[in-house]
Symmetry: C2
Subunit: 340 residues, 2 copies
DNA sequence: AGTGATCGATGAAACGTATCATTGACCCTG
DNA sequence: CAGGGTCAATGATACGTTTCATCGATCACT
């Protein structure tokens, strides 16, 4: 394997000069430059990043740990992270924990061993000892869509409670009086907060009731199942507005309610999702939903890491909470809507 | 930053011993082991992977370049790759080219500089000079869902033509006589082959016709649009069976045909997709589709890379073609089906 | 008791690069 | 023409590991 030394030899210059050519090309004379360039090409030399990194102690890679990359949500966040990282001259490496804290630990260990420039955690399953490790080594770390434990790390997340609050208020404005929240479990922080937001909003409106229909998972089939249960009820006992824990559940609900049971969305039941996934705009009845801005998540996370890395010294922790936007589409716009 | 030397000092042993403890723990005496372990813990020592890699020349990371990670298809392939890599003691780093060959080039350069253990390319947009570079440096490289240029790299792909062939024959068995292929452009290899497979299958069945309805992209909205066009035709001029270029297009078709235009799927028009994406089983009418096995893609790719890396010397190129499976669901099962 | 053999530990060398103080060549100015 | 200044190039050093030849000590066996 050809090293910088052989390049220097062939070009008839010193090793230091080749290094200078590689790192600060403008400070090497044009004629020398040509000879070095030529030698590099002839020998097929490729810089050894490991040696470089060992010498400098720095790395130009940013690591991103997602909960599950199969989920397009993380794919989109990763995409935004990658773009912003590139703007900052950083490369991105991705890993997926798939909900396994042990796997995540292994990855974090690996990244620490690699001396990565910074770390973005979007898994929500990180172990306390890993946080400990990262804090102890001073590796710039930012949490995405998760709050920082003991306020030691900066984070960027959406205000989940505000999202469902806006959804509920919107449903009430559409004339709904009997609202259901479909999703669970409450123990997942994001879901718990969404439910809280819905509860509080309903409490502020006398005459409106909230029913919680719990599910174990937040996937399409869970929504399908709940939809069938609701459809089997007597009409008077059905909710007239539903807030789903996320878009997948909403999709399942829409399919079982609207297409299979013959109920009309939104006329009989108005429906709001959460996330604004790509398919939300293209469902049978376009889905009203609470948007979680993946691009902002990604950009902000990179910026936080970069600021921390540039500062060198510990910066005050920043907890950035993004206000989610309600994207109103047909699934929640009812006939008989006041003012329509 | 604490190094192996300081660990050795604190433990009262030599640097070599600490290294031995880290790499071949069974050849170090228990008492010494304890002292070293203790020192490592007290100092919070973490191995420097860059130095290790520089010394050994080896790296234990496998790189995967996807076309677009936002697309769940790649997420699932990446997931399978990651699992298999872990079984082989390898870590995975991911990158996404987003269709930009320049970006992809940058990533490949980076991976070559990192001296990765192997490379899996699933982008389909790799530049010839990058292939040149990888071949010249002898980096184990495998293509996924793309054929190898000039037979220099092993690859794993699905037999696209066979997939659509099976879809068409299935539709004919269901009584369809006027079949349409929706998708494009033909210049994308996979799409071109799918179209070819459909053409050949139709040609073998006298009395059956094939119409090609071209689209620029293969996304939901393309299917929505084509569906509207078809619905606007006089009934006699509509196809009675459709093969979509992928599931996204099929989804769009199903929505605009079935739900908006009032046509019935499969009674009026039978529909088959391609890919078997996660949502295919949960659409309004569950979608019949040609399955591309992501898990097999991922596993096979890793195995090919591993074999190549272990061999050291160039191995004969292996081109693995996987026969796609037709997953029959409701969207293609017509009333009046022969034998039903 | 002497001879190998085995085991554990040592210490120096090497990996490929960046860095930096030093040197040499050259030009400009007074 | 002397002297200061700039620009290029040099070459030694250090980064944190792994590796390997070497050495001492312990043990089993004749």
């Amino acid at each position: 394997m050809v090293s910088i030394r052989e390049v220097a030899e062939l070009a008839g210059v010193s090793v230091g000069t080749v290094s200078k050519y590689l790192n600060t090309p403008h400070r090497v004379a044009p004629a020398t430059s040509d000879r070095v360039r030529r030698a590099i090409k002839d020998l097929g030399y490729v810089r050894n990043e490991a040696a470089r990194q060992m010498r400098t102690g720095r790395s130009n890679t940013l690591a991103f740990v997602a909960l599950e990359l199969r989920n397009p949500f993380f794919g989109e966040v990763a995409h935004a992270v990658e773009r912003r990282a590139a703007e900052n001259g950083l490369f991105l490496v991705l890993a997926s924990s798939d909900g396994d804290p042990v796997r995540e630990s292994q990855y974090i260990d690996m990244f620490v061993q690699q001396r990565v420039h910074g770390l973005i955690l979007a898994s929500g399953t990180t172990r306390p000892e890993d946080f400990e490790l990262l804090a102890a080594r001073g590796i710039p770390t930012v949490l995405v869509d998760a709050y920082a434990p003991s306020d030691r790390f900066s984070s960027v997340a959406v205000d989940d409670a505000l999202g469902t609050r806006r959804a509920v208020i919107h449903l009430i404005e559409q004339g709904c009086r009997s609202i259901a929240f479909v999703g669970g479990p409450e123990s997942v922080r994001q879901i718990g907060e969404r439910l809280d937001g819905a509860r509080k909003a309903v409490r502020e409106h006398p005459g409106v009731t909230l029913e919680v229909i719990a599910t174990e998972e937040r996937i399409v089939t869970a929504g399908l199942h709940v939809g069938e249960v609701i459809a089997a009820r007597r009409p008077a006992e059905r909710p007239d507005g539903i807030v789903a824990a996320n878009d997948s559940v909403a999709l399942g609900l829409m399919q079982s309610l609207g297409n299979r049971a013959g109920l009309r969305v939104p006329a009989d039941i108005a429906l709001v999702g959460f996330d604004d996934m790509e398919f939300a705009a293209t469902t049978t009845v376009p889905l009203t939903t609470v948007r979680r801005p993946r691009d902002i998540f990604g950009r902000t996370a990179v910026d936080l890491v970069r600021d921390q890395a540039e500062a060198g010294v510990p910066l005050p922790v920043r907890t950035i909470v993004i206000q989610p936007e309600l994207i109103v589409r047909e699934s929640s716009l009812r006939r008989g809507r006041p003012g329509a």
